[in-house]
């Protein structure tokens, strides 16, 4: 029990919220494209570009918020390129997404080399991190539970507030409704004179906005540094969560919290001296197991049909010898 107490406490939950924030933001961004019927595998690249240019911007301007703006702008450029290729030129979305991911990875490395003359990471150099928001009165009201709501960087709050806002967006605004219609039944949208192209561009850019914020949070949030490939698969994990949640904000939140918790938990385990390479696999194992369990439950029909087909094939082999005979 003592060990459990040490493992699970307020600090762990606060850490969960912190680690959830970037993946939640990028997944919510992807929710726009998912709902609009675009399979956006380029989230990883947008996030990475956001992280890099946020650092760059904060060094140039000396302001964390200007850095965030730079990061968002970079991610928007990536999102725009994605939209131009996928929506206007109808290129394959997986190919374009992967290409942009590789571009982001390579571009950040070579720019790092060109500007800072280093490889690996940018530390110090005058990077300004985001301030932490201390909610006044939080300690007075919640006592030792205060870290649950206070002391995060602004982007963490943005991430969690975005969830109910997106629920409202999809259910009560015209754009949200049109995004859903375009994704679900494009011919209905077309028949009603809704421009599919315009809606998909808008969804792509909204996605870039949130992915850029997520990237900026990575590099200016709790650690103020940029390292090569620092998004480390979060964009892909977001894609996985999107597939299983179908882009519904609440389900996205649930999936991201699970992943964030596993991430925070693994960090905690590291302090107990377990081998770090094993511990680092924990979030991925947890997330994959959960997603598999979900998909297994959500798709019994496919499994049932497969079983039925196999049964039919087996019994057909036995019962219908004459019909199986091929004249030659």
């Amino acid at each position: 029990m003592e060990i459990l107490d040490k493992l699970v406490n307020v600090a762990l939950i606060a850490a969960t919220l912190r680690t959830t924030a970037p993946i939640l933001l990028v997944a919510l961004g992807g929710s726009f494209t998912t709902k609009a019927g675009i399979f956006n595998i380029g989230l990883e690249g947008q996030m990475l570009a956001g992280a890099f240019f946020a650092v760059l911007g904060s060094i140039w301007t000396g302001s964390a918020f200007a850095g965030v703006a730079c990061g968002v702008a970079a991610a928007l450029v990536f999102a725009l390129v994605f939209a131009v290729l996928v929506v206007s030129f109808r290129a394959n979305e997986v190919v374009v997404g992967l290409a942009l991911n590789i571009l982001a990875g390579g571009m950040t490395i070579s720019l790092m080399k060109a500007i800072f003359g280093t490889r690996g990471s940018i530390v110090g150099q005058g990077i300004v991190g985001l301030p932490k928001v201390q909610l006044p009165g939080a300690r007075a009201v919640l006592g030792s539970w205060a870290p649950l709501i206070s002391g995060f960087t602004p982007i963490v709050y943005v991430a969690f507030i975005a969830v109910p806002l997106l629920v409202l967006f999809y259910n009560r605004t015209r754009l949200g409704l049109y995004i859903r219609v375009v994704g679900e039944k494009p011919e209905a949208a077309e028949a009603l004179g809704i421009s599919i192209t315009r809606v998909r561009y808008t969804a792509s850019l909204l996605c870039g906005l949130l992915a850029g914020l997520a990237g900026a949070h990575l590099s200016l949030g709790y650690i103020t540094m940029f390292t090569e490939n620092m998004s480390s698969g979060r964009g892909f994990m977001a894609v996985a969560i999107l597939i299983f949640s179908n882009g519904d904000p609440l389900k996205v939140l649930a999936g991201c919290l699970l992943f964030g918790f596993a991430d925070a938990f693994s960090l905690r385990l590291q302090t107990f001296g377990y081998p770090s390479y094993l511990v680092l696999t924990v979030p991925y194992v947890v997330a994959l197991t959960a997603l598999f369990a979900l998909s297994y439950r959500a798709r019994p029909k496919i499994i049932k049909e497969t079983l039925a087909l196999m049964q039919k094939l087996l019994s057909a082999d036995r019962n219908t010898e004459p019909g199986g005979k091929h004249p030659s």
Binding site: N171, R172, T173, L177, A188, I194, P322, G323, H326
Partner: protein
Amino acid sequence: MVSNAPGSSTRHNVSTGHNLAGPNLAGMAVALTGITKRFGAFVANDGIDLAVRRGEIHAIIGENGAGKTTLMNILFGLLQPDEGSIRLNDEETDVADPAVAIKAGLGMVHQHFKLVPSLSVADNVFLGMEIRRHGLIDHAAQIARTRELSERFGLRVDPTERVGLLSVGIEQRIEILKVLVRGARTIILDEPTAVLTPQESRELFQTLRSFVAEGMTVIFISHHLEEVMEVSDTVTVLRNGKRVATRPTAELTKDELVRMMVGREVSFDRRPREPQRGEVVLEVEELWARDDRRLPALRDVNFTVRSGEVVGIAGVAGNGQTELAEVLSGLRPASHGVARLKGRNLAAFSPAEIRAAGLAHVPGDRMARGVDRNASIAANMLMGRQHRAPWSRGGVLNWNVIGQNASKLIKDFDIRAQGSSDAVKRLSGGNIQKVVLAREFTNGADFLLIDQPTRGVDIGAQEAIHDEIMRQRAAGRAILLISVQLDELAALADRILVMFNGRIMGEVAGDDADEDRIGMMMAGVAAPEFAAETA
């Protein structure tokens, strides 16, 4: 054919069509004059005049391919006519796109619904013209308005339900509500009853009457006689892209309507034949099947086909012929009853096994199921026999043999192509069909299932295809010929079975094919001797 339009009174109507100018057109909700629409060499609408009075239910009736849907698409701005003019509410209008038609108070309920499954009924109704308050969609107001309209016109729906969970009949009501919400005063329905149960059809007719009671106008496309007689005030009959007649429904009998629809002078150029009576190859007993919507498509179908015999299936398209062909070729399960090919129950076999057991299938949709349009003629002629010698040995294809075989078939079947390596998509419709026939007829199968062999095929190729079918008959094959073209059946079939609404309404010997009787049965009117059976 049309020059032999029935009755002098209808001729009178046709001839006055072009003179409908001036005062006659006043009070018309819709007036089309001299509408002509061509698709390539095919004339879908040929100088059609149509005047629809405000406040009437005007039925447009005709067989598939008569040009009904084309005409309505022109009226609604989905197609542009090559010739002719359109007046909406007494004003000459250029209906460049549907937005113009909607603005003029027209609304169209298509055959295929375009609803969003995850949205509620009310959301779907108001999609594209949402009611908003403070920038947010006002769901309560949309629900209230939908409910009000649905009660006023007897369109029973629950505005809050998700569309994905609803039946086709209710989906249609939602499509009608969509049209109403957009302020339509003239409502066009394209074959609305095709997807409905009889009960739902009756409710729809009630709704249509309530529209008219409020001074609205209804244009109603159909090929079902009974419902046209029941619900319409005026009928316009189209045939082969031309208007045959426009008459008040009360003055018409079903009999007259059938004759106008089917046409009197079908060219019965009957092929000479030797009588043959072989053994039974195909036996169908009490066969039932459902369509893709899970509604019954075949109802208690019974017949046999003997070797050396051509059995024709007549009927207006969509009365179960497609499903029958699919069941016989193993593409659709029967829900009840059996089909036996040479004594073996087909239900236990896959399509490949049925073919191996002696079926050749010329599918009705040749581009979807007959050929791979991007592959070469040789590859298309190989399909289905690629596992067998001499076409392949040890899993390796022998392209020499395949190519030689294809070249031979190209010559035998007179396929006009550069060579066997030509892609099928470069051929004309008739030649593509000959590729299918060449493959299927040389398979050594005893039973030929031939579905619409000459659809979209030019006259020369039609003759050749008919010759080939007769050769197969002479060779002792058992042939089931499904066609919507009466003259084709009358020319080739030994016996003609007429399908309506999934049932065989009756049988006519090919030798005395009486188009009146067939036409009546095609329209669902049981011939007296079959009345008991269909009751």
